[in-house]
């Protein structure tokens, strides 16, 4: 019941439509990357600093890679991280939140204390410290982001679970002797779809911005071309602003991040019913 | 001289579910020094009339007709002129006094700002005025330094009465002044309204659904139903010789304290929808005296000469 209404909501507002379209565009781009990109992402055979031309729509960077290829493959990285982080956060957060809210009592309080403490720790310094100790790698990044992200989801889910627990149909099911798993699975979880959707959107935004940010700082995974890394190299090159190169080297990557995040932001706004 | 003149006021609101026709060509007047009651049930449009007069409900509103205050139209005047009229020349007593003041600011400060935004009165004089006003409604002046939450419901209502009369407005509009109070307080508040109006030489327009309680202090009464005035007259006329079937029902739906058991007749049915446009009389479904013409044709509206809007009269 709720899945349909989410789709309907999304397709009825201009924000939802625009957001979904942009999102679809990037997903297709990511999936079809090998087909669409003119070169291989590790191909450094071209001359560096070529201006945009027929052979290289966005020119080449400082080591001779085709920028368009890197940008196209960058969408993969961002979307993979977004998907991985949001699914993980959703799974853990929902499990903990529903369990805690349903069971209640001291277990609930203990869990929520833990969540509160987690929420107060500032993200980035912790990420940097962990990254300093560990190897840079995309799954480490996903792990850290998910680790710091599930408390928020748990909190929201728990609040909703508590409200739902005393809702009519849930109470009835419990009182009629339905086993807890049944009650949770059939009655509480389906009503959580709206919150789950919002969580996925929020975590995706967070993941994409964090991933590109970390890549910008040099914590990217070298085997996954990332928009953040592109920007890092572009800025890092001395004198970038005195040529025109910034236009086709710096801008596209940054614009892509902004557009993809904007897509999620619009979808999120639409789901929450903002005017 | 007429203080307030409402002429053919028609108000529609745009809602998500369609256009709500809330007021349909209403004529109403309040003359100098009199207390007028506007009686109707929920949805009759009575509150809308008050809010429209003060332009408090302009969102998504379409209106036609005229509202004249002291002879001048206040319908399409600019914002600042309207602001100057509000509070200073037309006072307002809201329905819910409980939440009518900012909970974070003392009563005294809120009274002061009302005075300051309208006049250049020096502070000492303003404070004296506030004290006098509060005392007139039975609230000790020392209490002015308290916050709104520190007063009871009845006290807050009296404070709102004091606030509305602070600057001696020519007209006071009271929106359901007794509805939120329990029965024991109602008659006291009603009496306070009359005394305060007399003291300040203000005219008053009282909006209510409670015909019996309000009629005690009214000089004239208008009865509204489904956005129209269906009858009007002096207190004696309405209370003693009601003409419109609705008015008669209103009068009989009260529990009289009598020696013998009395039969209370409620009014069957529910109020008409504001979304529908009725070709005939809106009261048709609930009327005891209805005839075919009532369903098909609109009864002639109230006017100077016609005090009742009904086919059967």
């Amino acid at each position: 019941m709720h899945r349909e209404s989410i789709l309907k909501k999304l397709s009825s507002s201009p924000q939802g439509i625009i957001g979904l379209s942009i999102l679809a565009f990037f997903i297709i781009l990511a999936l079809a990357a090998p087909l669409v990109a003119p070169y291989d992402p590790t191909d450094m055979s071209a001359d560096p600093f070529l201006r945009p031309s027929g052979a290289h729509w966005l020119g080449t960077d400082d080591v001779g890679k085709d920028i368009l290829t890197v940008v196209i493959y960058g969408s993969r990285t961002s979307l993979i991280v977004a998907l991985a982080v949001s699914v993980t956060v959703l799974a853990i957060g929902t499990a903990v939140g529903v369990f805690s809210g349903y069971v209640g009592g001291n277990i609930d309080r203990a869990f929520m204390r833990g969540v509160d403490i987690f929420l107060m720790i500032p993200d980035l310094p912790l990420i940097l410290i962990l990254a300093a100790y560990l190897r840079p790698g995309i799954w480490n990044v996903v792990f850290i982001l998910a680790l710091l992200g599930w408390p928020v989801s748990a909190r929201i889910t728990r609040a909703q679970a508590i409200t739902l627990k005393s809702a009519g149909h849930v109470d009835f099911a419990r009182v009629s002797g339905g086993p807890d798993i049944y009650v949770i699975g059939k009655h509480i979880i389906p009503d959580l779809y709206p919150i789950m959707a919002t969580t996925v959107v929020m975590q995706s935004i967070r993941a994409i911005l964090s991933e590109s940010g970390l890549a910008f700082l040099g914590l990217g995974d070298p085997s996954f071309p990332s928009w953040g890394t592109t920007i890092k190299y572009a800025i890092g090159y001395p004198g970038i602003f005195f040529t025109d190169a910034w236009m086709w080297w710096l801008l596209p990557a940054g614009a892509c991040i902004s557009l993809l995040v904007l897509a999620f932001v619009l979808v999120g706004q639409c789901l929450e019913g903002d005017e | 001289m007429s203080i307030l003149d409402v002429k053919s006021l028609t108000v529609d609101f745009n809602g998500r579910d369609g256009v709500h026709h809330v007021l349909k060509g209403v004529d109403l007047s309040v003359y100098d020094g009199e207390i007028v009651g506007l009686i109707g049930e929920s949805g009759s449009g009575k509150s809308t009339l008050a809010l429209t007069a003060l332009d408090l409900n302009g969102h998504d509103r379409a209106m036609s007709g005229d509202i004249r205050f002291m002879g001048k139209s206040i319908v399409s005047i600019d914002r600042e002129s309207m602001r100057k009229v509000r509070g200073r020349h037309i006072g307002f007593i809201p329905q819910s006094a409980m939440n009518a003041l900012d909970p974070l600011v003392t009563v005294k400060k809120q009274f002061l700002e009302t005075i300051r935004d309208h006049t250049d009165m020096p502070r000492s004089e303003a404070l004296r005025l506030i004290d006098d006003s509060l005392e007139a409604v039975g609230i000790g002046p020392r209490r002015a330094n308290s916050f709104p939450y520190e007063f009871s419901g009845g006290q807050r209502q009296r404070m709102m009465i004091a606030l509305s009369m602070l600057l001696g407005p020519e007209l006071i509009i009271a929106d359901e002044p007794t509805t939120a109070l329990d029965v024991t307080l109602q008659s006291r508040i009603v009496q306070l309204l009359k005394d305060s109006a007399a003291k300040k030489h203000s005219s008053m327009l009282i909006i209510s659904h409670d015909l019996h309680t309000i009629s005690r202090i009214c000089d004239r009464i208008y009865i509204m139903y489904a956005g129209r005035v269906v009858e009007y007259g002096t207190r004696e006329e309405i209370m003693g010789r009601p003409e419109h079937p609705y008015t008669r029902k209103l009068l009989s739906s009260r529990l009289h304290v009598m020696a013998e058991p009395a039969r209370v007749q409620g009014i069957k049915g529910s109020p008409p929808s504001t979304l529908k446009v009725y070709p005939g009389c809106e009261f048709y479904d609930r009327c005891d005296e209805r005839a075919d013409v009532c369903k098909a044709e609109r009864p002639p509206g109230c006017s100077r000469t016609a005090k009742v809007s009904c086919h059967r009269r």
């Binding site: 403490i117 912790l126 940054g254 991040i257 | 509000r86 809201p94 909970p103 916050f147 709102m160």
Partner: protein, 342 residues
């Protein structure tokens, strides 16, 4: 049911004080956990605790440690003592602000941090104040003129601003205002080696270096408070006391004062929550603008694997964030208590 003033206020104070104390304990607990994490990290990470004191053997200038020296060093740093003793020493050290020595700079970490922290506080503090003030102003305007041109425009602009990554925004700002227009300097906190003829000139120099990173941070942060303020104010404007304020004929600016006062609590709460956000943003901004604050320090230390500095910076930043959150709780609790009296 007349509430007598004294008992009502007294009732509020007691509950308020208790809540504040509880909150304080929670924050203290959180800080303690952060300290504990900090304690265990170097000891559980690959490379062992000596890694975090002397740096990697693979770095550019490794401190060469043979096995014999290693044993002596482990002893010197009490790394062979039982864990709880190490922990207590660690806490005592932290209380004395003894964070060890920087691997890269070879001076006490606390000195480095003391030199950098004021810059970051300057940047982040002003950013928080300005972005909150602007966000509140724009949010109030927007809800006041709901549906009209300015509101619609802002509602479109804000999501777009929210989507731009802060480092990209910084790059663009540097480019337009630093290079192309040349108005502001593009790096540093002050002109290097400058001698100032008067304190005003020094302040002006600092201010001009602050301008671009500050602008960037403000643009980045403003979306948060704007949306919140707009929503809260819109809600407030439908409340009875605002309708009554209009009915009394109050001037616009006084009505807005009322709306603002009642909208403050969530704004204050959010401002504090944003602080955690800002800390992250500061790292990016200071890196892009080469601004000599904690953010750049963290970044450089990360590059150099200067563990003592990293850990100390983490503690200091966390402490700041927690302190600000606590302050926000106190303030908003106070305002809230008044509003929730009935």
């Amino acid at each position: 049911m007349t509430y007598i003033k004294t008992s009502g206020a007294r009732r509020m104070d007691k509950a308020y004080r208790k809540a504040i104390l509880n909150r304080g304990l929670e924050y203290a607990l959180t800080f303690f956990i952060i300290l504990t994490i900090n304690f265990f990290l170097p000891r559980v990470m690959p490379g062992g605790p000596l890694l975090s004191i002397f740096g990697s053997q693979n770095s550019d200038l490794p401190v060469v440690i043979d096995d014999a020296t290693k044993l002596k060093l482990m002893d010197y740093y009490h790394l062979n003592d039982p864990l709880h003793i190490q922990f207590i020493n660690y806490l005592i050290d932290t209380a004395h602000l003894n964070f060890g020595y920087s691997i890269y700079y070879n001076i006490p970490v606390v000195d480095i941090i003391a030199g950098r922290l004021p810059w970051t506080i300057l940047l982040m503090g002003s950013a928080l104040l300005i972005s909150t003030a602007l966000g509140v102003y724009l949010g109030l305007e927007s809800s006041w003129r709901r549906g009209k041109a300015i509101d619609r425009a802002l509602l479109v602009i804000m999501p777009v601003l929210k989507s731009i990554p802060v480092f990209f925004l910084g790059s663009l700002i540097i480019f337009i205002f630093g290079f192309r227009l040349g108005i502001f300097p593009v790096s540093g906190g002050m002109t290097p080696y400058a001698v100032y003829s008067s304190p005003i000139r020094m302040i002006a120099d600092i201010a001009s270096h602050l301008a671009l990173p500050l602008a960037c941070l403000v643009i980045f942060e403003i979306t948060g408070s704007y949306l919140l303020v707009r929503n809260v104010c819109t809600q407030q404007m439908e409340r009875p006391y605002i309708v009554m304020a209009v009915a009394r004929g109050l001037k616009d600016r006084n009505i807005r004062k009322h709306v603002l006062k009642n909208s403050l609590t969530p704004v204050v709460n959010q401002a504090a929550a944003m602080l955690g956000f800002l800390v992250g943003g500061a790292i990016f901004i200071e890196t892009v603008f080469s601004y000599p604050g904690m953010g750049l320090l963290v970044y450089n230390s990360f590059l150099e694997r200067d563990y003592p500095v990293l850990q100390a910076a983490f503690i200091v930043m966390s402490l700041c964030v927690l302190a600000c959150n606590y302050a926000a709780d106190i303030i908003s609790g106070y305002i809230d208590g008044r509003a929730r009296q009935d």
